[in-house]
């Protein structure tokens, strides 16, 4: 960075003098959700008093404040990866093809709740849920169908799966091999972040310790066999949606990422063998500048953690690779068209923050999963940003902004402090197991919701500028019960035609490997290739590990 022009420098004291006393006294305070106070004006001095100007650096260079790559969107825009999936693999396949035809550049698969919680479509507990919030998957046959004809090298696939991740990742790899994709080159992502499920989202299956073991099994296996795959996407998103403020969102996500990193290192891998494949999923809603500063400060902090604490040699191990753009908590049921506007602002935030991948909530999210039209609008929002707004022309356009750099420094410092507090209490896994995180953020969620409902926090269309709407007809995505029946029939057919002896043998191997604490990926891959079901494999693991008994914390 060049020397600041000192002949015209204006410091904070002069700023105060420039403003008349009366206007200063009348100004209400502005305090961000993170607790940081916002001044009416920022100058060079503010950057210098909150951090180091040298830390701003260049994009593509440690500590990566301005972006993980030197050219960012100037070379290639962010990937657009709308979350999609419902009904049977046939329906989901059709939606995938539609999204790809409309310009979507990456796929993110939504699974139904039975699949996510390790149940087959014919399980009594799955009643009413088959294909409802996502695609149903029972066996490898479902993956063979949904990904048929899709070039997994051209269009990468993200699997939003956690509790049953080991089964679905195994199916994905088995399917990719079957369709002759080279695993040593295969890219893609599995969310596979179980620790956040215990805080919010709730698709856990097994107790905490074996659940973490399965996460690491996938990381370890992929580091060796599928080295370009991202085996985990650590989610701050759901932690924020559950009531955490932006500082806590990043702090807890980083603590969780560190916990997975520590466990993986215990398996004998070096930091550079897997850290560059870690990825993150963050939330966006609320104050525009607070969000941008959150990402820039966090990106720098993550780089410092990996380099200084873990002594990585490869720069790529230090990259904060992320998806951001969604922010369901910011959207409203009232005046749903306003959500299109909100999502456009969130897209802008995401791009100005240097995300790698973007996905937006659709305007009907308060009602149901997206209709085709709503998904199309989300895509167009991102495409307009790329093609019409000049967002890709230059890297980190807000770099050097007095406000944004100061706030990035302050957010980084606040995240560090929050992480230290978690460590002082015994670490994130303990804090989750004893409900400390859940208790703190659920009370926050209540106070925030109350503040919105009391009108203290403005929400357009809800507590200001309300219109008393007559019953509106928002087009819902319909749930098709016939699809559930079809899925169950298909499952029964697969079970009739597969080699039962082979399945039994494979399940027995999973049990044995689990009991002897081996990496379960090879055994699970063998089982899915024999068309063992999600339910059968999950039950086998439940027999060994037991089921999570949720302690009640709120």
């Amino acid at each position: 960075m060049g020397t600041p022009d000192t002949t015209k420098s204006v410091n904070q004291n002069e700023v105060k003098n420039l403003m008349s006393n009366s206007t200063k006294k009348d100004l209400p305070k502005v305090i961000l959700e993170s607790g940081i106070e916002v001044n009416p004006l920022y100058t060079q001095d503010d950057i210098e008093r909150t951090g180091s100007v040298a830390d701003i650096g260049k994009p593509g260079e440690y500590p990566f404040t301005r972006g993980i790559h030197p050219l960012m969107y100037r070379k290639r825009p962010f990937t657009m990866r709308q979350y999609a999936g419902f009904g049977t693999p046939t329906e989901t396949h059709e939606r995938f093809l539609y999204l790809i035809s409309q310009g979507q550049t990456g796929l993110n698969v939504a699974f139904d709740l039975p699949t996510q919680t390790g149940l087959d479509s014919d399980d009594p507990r799955a009643e009413g849920e088959v294909g409802r919030v996502g695609m149903s998957v029972d066996t490898l046959a479902d993956f063979e169908e949904v990904f048929k004809g899709i070039n997994l090298d051209d269009i990468t696939v993200s699997l939003t799966i956690n509790g049953s991740a080991i089964v679905l990742v195994a199916m994905y790899l088995a399917m990719a091999q079957e369709y002759a994709f080279d695993l040593s080159n295969l890219r893609g992502t599995a969310q596979n972040d179980i620790l956040k499920e215990f805080i919010g989202r709730g698709t856990w299956i097994f107790p905490v310790e074996p659940s973490v073991k399965l996460v690491i099994d996938i990381i370890e296996y992929c580091a060796k066999e599928v080295p370009k795959y991202s085996p985990v996407s650590v989610c701050g998103y759901h932690i924020r949606e559950s009531g955490a403020n932006p500082v806590q969102e990043m702090a807890y996500a980083f603590c969780i990422a560190k916990a997975y990193t520590d466990e993986t290192l215990k398996r004998g891998l070096t930091i550079d063998e897997f850290a560059s494949r870690l990825s993150f999923n963050f939330d966006i809603h609320g104050n525009l500048f607070e969000q941008i500063a959150k990402f820039r400060g966090a990106r720098r902090l993550w780089a410092k953690i990996i380099k200084e604490q873990y002594r990585a040699s490869d720069e790529s191990s230090c990259w904060l690779r992320m998806i951001a753009g969604g922010g369901g908590g910011g959207l409203t049921k009232e005046q749903p068209e306003n959500n299109i506007i909100r999502s456009a602002y969130y897209a802008l935030i995401s791009a100005l923050s240097g995300t790698q991948t973007m996905a937006l909530c659709s305007y009907d999210e308060a009602y149901t999963i997206p209709t085709e039209k709503a998904a199309e609008i989300s895509l167009r929002t991102m495409q307009i940003l790329i093609h019409e707004m000049g967002i890709c022309d230059t890297v980190d356009p807000l770099g050097g902004s007095y406000y944004v750099e100061t706030l990035s420094n302050q957010m980084e410092n606040a995240i560090v402090k929050e992480m230290e507090e978690v460590d002082a209490k015994g670490g994130i896994v303990k804090a989750i197991a004893f409900g400390e995180i859940q208790k703190a953020i659920s009370r926050q969620a209540y106070l925030r919701e109350k503040a919105i409902q009391d009108g203290a926090v403005p929400k357009v269309g809800v507590n200001i500028h309300r219109t008393e709407e007559t019953a509106r007809t928002v087009e819902f995505h319909p749930y098709n019960e016939d699809n559930a029946k079809k899925q169950v029939e298909k499952l029964r057919k697969v079970k009739r035609t597969r080699n039962s002896a082979q399945v039994e043998e494979a399940l027995a191997r999973i049990k044995k490997d689990a009991e002897t604490n081996l990496n379960l990926m090879p055994a699970v891959i063998e089982a899915v290739k024999a068309y063992a079901t999600v339910g059968e494999i999950s039950q086998t693991l439940k027999d060994v590990y037991g089921e999570y008994q949720e302690p009640i914390y709120f």
Binding site: L113, P114, Q116, T117, L119, R125, A126, E127, G128, E129, R132, V133, E197, G200, R201, G202, T203, E241, S242, G243, T332, K333, E334, A366, Y367, T368, S442, R443, A445, Y446, E449, K450, Q453, A471, F476, Y479, E550, P551, I552, F554
Partner: protein, 139 residues
């Protein structure tokens, strides 16, 4: 010297909040739990992944005054039918209410299934507290 006498205010009502089915979204039900406790109610929360039968049994065991079901995955009509049957089987006549991701159009069907009230998406905390206050007064 000031002598302060603390009067122990008895809880208005005992409410069981339940998460039936596979839905893992518990932000809303926990927000409501906090609000109810702050407004003088006693709250028991079942946690996630409970069957309707388990919720009804817990309500019976704890002698609660009202049951609240939180459902966000869209399966409310299926679960309300199950609730109707389970309440009859258990011989419980206490009111049960439903909230979550409920479309306005489904409120009627939920009441028809035996719910005392249905709170669609966008319901305020105040609305639920007022309803529970009214229930408490009738008791």
């Amino acid at each position: 010297m000031i002598l302060t006498v603390k009067i122990m205010k008895s809880k208005k009502l005992k409410i069981l909040l339940g998460k039936p089915g596979l839905d893992g979204h518990d932000v809303g039900v926990k927000v409501l739990a906090h609000a109810l406790i702050d407004n003088g109610f006693e709250v028991i929360y079942t946690g996630l992944r409970k069957t309707i039968e388990e919720i009804v049994q817990k309500a019976k065991d704890n002698k609660v005054d009202v049951i609240g079901l939180s459902i966000l995955s869209g399966t409310h009509l299926v679960l309300c039918q199950q609730m109707n049957e389970a309440m009859k089987k258990a011989g419980l006549t206490i009111p049960w209410i439903v909230g979550g991701n409920i479309p306005d159009n489904d409120v009627e069907a939920i009441i028809a299934a035996g719910a005392a009230a249905a709170f669609p998406t966008g319901t305020t905390i105040e609305a639920v507290i007022n309803y529970c206050d009214e229930l408490a007064e009738k008791k």
